[in-house]
Symmetry: C2
Subunit: 764 residues, 2 copies
């Protein structure tokens, strides 16, 4: 099957982390018995991470749907606690933190419905109209026996309001602002219509926001086979016969603009916290919205009107038109309307984050005050126990790694593939911990998606001490055909074998599929940016904690699927990734576990934090160049100079290089732990220096001036890119250009501050 | 002279610092040759701080007016640089950082004028009216020969707008919101009037803001002898014959609401930074405002109308009435109007902050990477040079001490008394530094008042590492009569002798004049809160750096002066504090230098930061009790529970106590420097955990949830106090009470976070 051949590794990360770790791993010679990463421990961990156990974890986790706050999700909380408190393989401690969060559900009594109805009398009509001549499917077809259970929640748009709009149907492509403008340009009257949009191109909630601005009354969202299935849609061509989405598949999702609990922005969602009035909440879709299936007799097949532009055409097996309304020669009469009936409910529900702690060890007989520090490896630790150095180590620096736990349905890939890996990794680390063999502070965490944002509030003060932030990984349908020998560890360099044909290491495989040319290193693995969504957002964007997202993904040169096809559908079940990975023995999950484990150990145990600040320089330089090339002339026209930005980037580059040299020099000798601590603090705090809570006042939480969401087209500093994009709009005036200048000053100030962070403090 | 007997010591400080230092000093036994504060160095510094040198510093600094950006102020920048680069007594480095700031000046060509004029024809009249029958003095009288020079800037209200309002005069007491409401209650029509207000009671700019809300056209501000002079005002009773303000004295000052450069909020005021349009600046007084003298034939003597309330009466030697307009039997006709002509100008000017750095020392032969750390004293340092501990110390933690440099006129007390002391202290430290005898990181800084706020922007990332913040001291007319022996150091306890009669230490003198009962310690010195104004504001309120303000002040039981009488006038000259301090040999300045020096050394050199977090507990407990007693019932009526606050305070208390115990336990042994570093980080970062940039969105910069300005009457957490006060207003609705709940949640979250900061990190 073609799809089993897809293979790849993607690594979204803050530029700081990934490359530095990978290259640092190869570049820095390790000394025997030095207070540094213990390669034996690393090999042990690599060897003990068991693919079968990961598989069994996944089987259990994805056995039933586990929507946030559902009884099954609560069962999983207990499962986690049990695992993390196991006497032989558990952690030092584990606790569930429960929050009261505002969740959205479809009504059990009245499912959301989308009908086509005759109109009697002629439109516009309010309320039920004529005979229903077509009903869109409300649920997904029970193809593998797992889609039919009572806990399989109906496809719906979480946080979309209830309502019963009806109107003529129009087709609005992805539902971006430009898409709606195109419809207007085509002379289509949008007021009171129902807009059919396809997933992708813009955030879910934004489709409704954009539609509402143009007077649209309701929004439908579907998955086009062109975007997800390489055009395929028949049952024989889709799951379980391939990885593609079955024709009845519908993507669920949150349509809320922000992360975290909607009622308690910037506060923990505990019962006593101040809560907004529902009336004062912003970020919900303004009009009723419903995801639907659009394959069998889809309304899209029958639209009237102008042909849709070429880029708007999909693979529904018909020629797409814009509407409004249906073709007289189609299945519905020309004046038939689409009735959208949404009965979503908002409810306050309890949901938990589960945190485990691995503290590390202490000198025998000492009270548990301080424990493992990345300054000392446990072996070196123990060997020094009779020496002159006392053994209190830096236990105020942690690596946090986590995943979100709750799923829309079974969630075998999203999120439970990550949870399964996390459980196995924590088992291996916990086992070493219980045996006294490994001693470094790590916080494994499994959060609930909505409460995740709230998590930041309560613990942000403590988390200021976290070394690196969230790890989140998703394994996707992976695995090359023709697996060779069982995965092994290439010691002593600690390379992890990549699943798939051949004997490639992860590193080599990575370079093969995602590479770029670095002016410094030559050909290197390419790291994506973290982007502005997903679980790491509170950590990187709000708290300024360097974060990494690790995922094994599919070969994007072999498919145009925008995401793995069963994402957020009832088909994301245990047997979805399974057959392909069967031959490989879940080796892709295991490869992720090993990669994550290796990174965690390196971050925790290395004497010097393996963070290469000069890699950040490359990103800044690239942003600068894009600004100069693509915005330079425009800015000059408005008397805005990029000079200070050039200076700031150069300063950063110089300081980053100088710091790198100081570290290199120290690494050759036997540096004092205090000095190492100071340097590591500088490395750790660098990310924080890019936060500015006043940079984007209209955005909630987002404060990172390098990684905030970029809507502008130029791949440069997002605030600058976005402001230029807005200012360039012909309707904008001098105020918009003043904002461009302000954003530029914000970036310059941040870079100057970041550069200062890297200097010896005495050189203010 | 009575006023020479006034004596006292005030210490405004974040509660964390002062008491802990003072008590820690007495409580913690010092071991010989321990890596801790070196008492010999302390004694040396105490002994070398020379009162005469301080005097000569002050003489030079106050020789001429040195307004911000004036040539003389620039000369002083050079003087500082010269001193701090002196080969024998200078620092490691010193640099001036120049900013382009928006300053306000009166016009040299057209001085501001306040006249009384006949009205022809009858009012209201726009523009010049009739004959001027009285002009208020434009300048202060040249009493001592120093008030007449060309650089003595005319009294004016900096940042007040230009304009020429005229109208009937009303008297508005301090010009608070309540004062204007009182006038309304009295049936006085405020529209188009000129309001005469007296200094005090509310911030300068607020008088104009409040007035404008009621339709007042212009504001005059004067200093009432009751508030400053204990009612005295004749030349024989005032300076130079006493410390009281001469009858022609006028207080200048900034009437801008915020600190920092008005054009570049949250950005450094460098030329390339984004600047607001003047039209978009908020925080300036909305109507023309002018400070005047009100002693000789003051308009206030002649007001008509109802008697002013008793508390509004002052000491101008007449019965105060409210107006509007003048008494027919007075000096002016009943319909005479007051013409206020303000010609202030806003100008962009260059002004500098000067920073010096004392890095500390390194092991001979090592590159200058790291230097002095509070973990090791220099003596211990040197004695360990052949031991097993390498000598890289924590040079990323600094004590910043500073003062502002520019003055309104001569500024002998404000600010140059502080500058004089700072110069002497840096000379002594620099001398030890050059001799290699003292090695601890300190940053002396002298900032320009407006650029001070901007300072924070550029360096805030680096300053995150500053241990304790700004010291600012002002010496005031001080000194007891009958000085005894020259001040000496009481070793080994290091007590500093207090100037004044008797043989009291600073500590004993302090307890005598400002004491309180601590539930933990019994009778202790009392520390005032830092408040929301003055130079430390950016450090404590915006950056969350623990700060202390040290000032020798007058005995407030012997005078009701709200501030030292010549504050911001042309009479604040070198000979103003001098005669009283002559007999004492500037010993009060010296006492401040010793106190500051002692604190700096203790902060820099003590192994454990001498910050007692349990002192913070006392403040929180006191805030909580006030909230319970004075707001509890009211909150309950609105279903707002203080329960979570009680829990949060208790948690903090418990964690603070536990941390204190951990430290005590460690102090008995030989703790590892890394462990000490970790604990010191917790102590240092505690202050930071109280910052919330979203707590007070209408306030610029102010983010500290404990020390933000409190306008509410209940002495509790300011956000809560202020919100309750506003909500309790009969006109407010449920939104106001929602804000109370929000503020409560903000405090609870901050306290929980702060408590978490104090825990061993493993105990999340």
């Amino acid at each position: 099957m073609q799809w089993t051949k897809v293979l790849g590794l993607g690594l979204g990360a803050a530029a700081l982390l990934g490359l530095g770790i990978i290259l640092g791993h190869f570049a820095i010679p390790k000394k025997a018995n030095s207070p540094d990463l213990d390669l034996e421990i690393l090999e042990t961990v690599m060897g003990q991470l068991d693919a079968h156990r990961i598989r069994e974890n996944l089987r259990e986790l994805s056995r039933e749907p586990h929507l946030a706050s559902s009884p099954r999700d609560e069962d999983l909380v207990q499962l986690l606690l049990q695992r993390w408190k196991d006497p032989e393989s558990g952690l030092d401690s584990a606790e569930a933190f429960t929050y009261e969060v505002l969740l959205s559900f479809p009504s059990q009594e009245q499912p959301n419905v989308v009908d086509i109805a005759m109109t009697l009398p002629p439109p516009p009509t309010v309320g039920p109209t004529g005979d229903i001549i077509h009903s869109c499917h409300r649920t997904e077809e029970n193809v593998t026996g797992e889609q039919g259970g009572p806990d399989v929640i109906q496809p719906y748009a979480a946080y979309a309001p209830s309502g019963n709009p009806q109107g003529l149907l129009v087709y609005a492509n992805h539902g971006t602002e430009d898409d709606f403008k195109e419809l207007q340009t085509q002379g289509i009257k949008l007021e009171g219509t129902i807009a059919l949009t396809r997933y992708g191109g813009v955030g879910r909630g934004d489709k409704a926001v954009n539609a509402a601005k143009h007077g649209v009354a309701g929004v439908l969202v579907y998955t086009d086979p062109a975007d997800i299935n390489d055009g395929l849609s028949s049952p024989s061509e889709t799951f379980p016969n391939s990885w593609y989405l079955p024709p009845s598949g519908v993507e669920r999702g949150s349509y809320y603009k922000y992360f975290g609990d909607p009622l308690t922005p910037y506060l923990p969602a505990i019962p006593s916290s101040f809560r907004l009035d529902l009336a004062n909440i912003s970020g919900f879709p303004p009009i009723p919205t419903q995801p639907i299936v659009c394959s069998l007799g889809c309304p899209a097949h029958n639209l009237n009107g102008t042909s849709a532009p070429t880029t708007w055409q999909g693979a529904l097996g018909c020629h797409y038109r814009l509407g409004p309304g249906f073709r007289p020669d189609g299945n519905f009469s020309a004046d038939s309307q689409v009735n959208v009936s949404v009965y979503n409910r908002l409810e306050l529900r309890n949901s938990s984050n589960v945190l485990g702690i691995i503290r590390g060890a202490v000198e025998p007989g000492e009270p548990l005050l301080c424990s493992g520090c990345h300054c000392y490896s446990p072996r070196a630790h123990l060997s020094l126990s009779s020496g002159s150095l006392p053994l209190f180590l830096c236990s105020d620096r942690y690596v946090l790694y986590g995943n979100h736990r709750d799923s829309w349905v079974h969630g075998a890939v999203d999120p439970s593939s990550g949870t399964a890996v996390l459980l196995e990794l924590s088992r291996v680390l916990g086992t070493l911990l219980k045996k006294g063999e490994w001693l470094t502070p790590v916080i494994p965490a499994l959060w609930e998606a909505k409460a995740g944002g709230s998590r930041g509030q309560e613990f942000k003060t403590s988390l200021l001490g976290v070394v690196a932030g969230a790890y989140r990984w998703r394994t996707r349908p992976v695995v090359g055909a023709g697996e060779g020998p069982a995965p092994r560890l290439n010691s002593p360099s600690g390379q992890i074998r990549s699943p798939g044909p051949g004997d490639l290491s992860i590193y080599d495989n990575w370079i093969r599929y995602f590479n770029r040319s670095s002016p410094v290193y030559g050909l290197v693995p390419s790291l994506g940016s973290l982007g502005a969504g997903s679980d790491y957002a509170p950590f990187i964007h709000f708290l300024g904690i360097s974060s990494m997202d690790i995922a094994y993904t599919y070969d994007r040169s072999k498919t145009s699927a925008r995401i793995y096809p069963t994402y957020h559908t009832a088909f994301d079940t245990f047997d979805y990734p399974w057959p392909c990975d069967l031959a490989a023995g879940f080796s892709s999950h295991q490869a992720v576990a090993r990669t994550a484990g290796s990174i965690i150990l390196r971050l925790s145990d290395s004497f010097f934090l393996p963070l290469k600040v000069s890699d950040y320089s490359e990103t800044l330089r690239s942003f600068l160049q894009a600004a100069q090339q693509d915005l330079g002339a425009l800015l000059e026209q408005h008397s805005i100079s990029l000079g200070p930005l050039v200076t700031a980037v150069e300063k950063f580059e110089a300081e980053a290089a100088a710091l790198g040299q100081r570290i290199s020099m120290l690494q050759k000798g036997s540096p004092d732990p205090l000095q190492v601590r100071m340097l590591n603090d500088q490395l750790m705090l660098l990310e924080r220096s890019f936060l500015n809570p006043r940079a984007f006042p209209e955005e909630r939480y987002y404060s990172h001036v390098l990684w905030a969401a970029r809507t502008g087209s130029v791949a440069t500093f997002p605030g600058l890119s976005n402001a230029c994009s807005r200012a360039n709009d012909t309707a904008s005036g001098s105020e918009a250009w003043a904002e461009v200048q302000r954003q530029l000053s914000i970036v310059v100030t941040a870079l100057e501050g970041a550069a200062a962070t890297l200097r010896p403090v005495a050189d203010l």
